[in-house]
Symmetry: C2
Subunit: 340 residues, 2 copies
């Protein structure tokens, strides 16, 4: 199974309004709510790809209870058909022909209950333009005892994990070196670990030598001071990450790894909502790692999934038909060893 | 006791942000949540004035459960000190010297549980300017059985009520003549009834001859087609309301009643947030009616309470010191009978 850690889970609300006008009153015409926070989004995509996933992190209060109910609804009620094979078993298909298995797999709730209230995030979508205004609550104050409970739960879960993703912001009360601590535990347990956060938690986490980080241009620039992708990505690797997959937004991804350097790009720029595209990329990278795919195939999958997420009418979901159509059309360019 | 009916209760969230910028992402720096919907706001003020209040209407789902918890927190844990006297007993103090009793009285939850989720409202406050952007969910779809349960509960509660306020918008599923039905029941039971709503529910409700309505300028104009206060207020009375108390915003109130016509104005215009000022005025009018105050004293109280609500740093609460200071300074002008 793949483990995702979301320390600052969220109940994600989406409000549709005809147009957001500051200082006016708005009647919300459409609304939806779903479990959120980056690691939960990653788990949703992994589940759709057929990978059994366990989510941990914190949840509490009335919003935490709603989040956990919605999370339970995500999982298929019946175990997946054994005839579809074991998606966790490594295999190495031909490049460009390897969509992940399609029977959804369960997402198991291993969240640690906290006294505080899980935060809400509100995405206000202008129906006319599709533009989104985001309001994010800060999250509950997590106590030292609750953090200790999370560490215990995490160690237990690592024992059964094929890979782990550490995702998103830290809630109030959690020390800035928290991800570094979780990276070290994963490395001690021999579980490949991907870190997807930003700012000081990313800087500290990298020094603990995660297998992968997946920063976007802003996160890389904040970390390294450079907006030149190759320079910034290499700098990030020197800081301790074994592999750095830099998101170049609509231009795809740049991967600087111990095995080589690749650039992967979608066949064309696509219009749509980039919300959740990064989380889909993380799911693509981790599922590819667990399945033993080559770097080019992992990157194809990550780029096809994130592009299919931008194309989806529902923010954060991916359009499966678009994904399967895009997968063989993602362009991969290997940089000559001299360029490393 | 005073009964308030809120068919579309709400969990009211207030988010503080440095500045609301459309299409940007915002970290909420301060937040609060409290039970809302006009009738619940009226009950909160009545409780602060020492009047026992029972609230009914609908609540459901996870947000409904939070609303009811917060509502329970509103009530004093101990019964009020019998030494403070009976605030429900009519008495007629000198004009200008009659602040209501100050020991808070309990608010009793008699809400009817529905299957749908109580709506949230979100007030996003720009900390720089104090301006508020409002987002209102539509509310749960109420079924015919749930409406029938509300009618039964309402009839029972009317038997013990000294006055009733019918407040706010209708949730989806409730027929537009719902308030007219509730007005007729109150009149049959001999309980004075105040209707505070807008649009078609107000138009239908007035035809059932409520004792009082308390429209603002926009609601009056929508009802009568006129923005001239005296003309519009008299027209509203001709449509069936026994008394019409028109809110003139910062200029106070115009009361056209069977006993006379009065205009009441605060001593000065005040800066602040008008949210909830109308609900405080309803609480002032109803408490004054139950206490047997004269029209001028009821209007003094309503204007002082609504002005003290605008002045309060917390939207919807009233500043008690300001209220007591303002009360004797509200100006009352009686129109000559010829002007009726």
């Amino acid at each position: 199974m793949i483990l995702t850690v979301t320390l600052n889970t969220a109940l994600d609300l989406t409000y549709g309004v005809p147009e957001l006008v500051p200082h006016a009153s708005h009647r919300v015409s459409e609304m939806s709510e779903r479990p959120g926070g980056k690691g939960l989004n990653v788990a949703r995509v992994l589940s759709a790809l057929g990978h059994r996933t366990v989510v941990t992190g914190f949840a509490g209060g009335a919003t935490g209870a709603v989040l956990r109910e919605l999370l339970a609804d995500l999982s298929p009620q019946e175990p997946t058909d054994p005839g579809t094979g074991s998606p966790d078993a490594p295999h190495a298909p031909e490049p460009g022909t390897a969509p992940a298995p399609t029977a959804p797999a369960p997402v198991t709730d291993a969240l640690v209950t906290v006294a505080g209230n899980t935060r809400r995030t509100i995405a206000v979508v202008d129906r006319a333009t599709g533009d989104t205004t985001q309001l994010n609550e800060p999250g509950p104050l997590v106590t030292a005892d609750e953090w200790a409970a999370l560490l215990g739960r995490y160690e237990e879960l690592l024992a059964g994990a094929d890979a782990v993703a550490l995702c998103g912001s830290l809630p109030p009360g959690i020390h800035v070196g928290a991800y570094a601590e979780l990276v070290r535990s994963a490395r001690t347990a021999g579980v490949p670990v991907l870190l997807d956060t930003s700012g000081e938690p990313l800087r500290r986490g990298i020094a603990a030598r995660p297998d992968l980080i997946k920063p976007n241009a802003d996160e890389l620039a904040q970390l390294t001071g450079s907006r030149e992708p190759m320079r910034a990505t290499r700098d990030a690797r020197r800081r301790g990450a074994h592999g750095v997959i830099a998101s170049l937004g609509p231009d795809g991804m740049l991967a600087v790894t111990p095995d080589g350097i690749w650039q992967a790009a979608p066949p064309a720029r696509v219009p749509g909502n980039p919300t959740g595209a990064g989380d889909s990329a993380v799911a693509g990278l981790l599922s590819g790692l667990v399945e033993g795919l080559s770097w080019p195939d992992r990157l194809r999958r990550a780029v096809a999934l994130s592009t299919a997420t931008v194309l989806s009418p529902t923010a954060g979901d991916f359009d499966r038909a678009a994904y399967e159509e895009l997968l063989p059309r993602v362009g991969i360019e290997e940089h000559a060893p001299a360029a490393r």
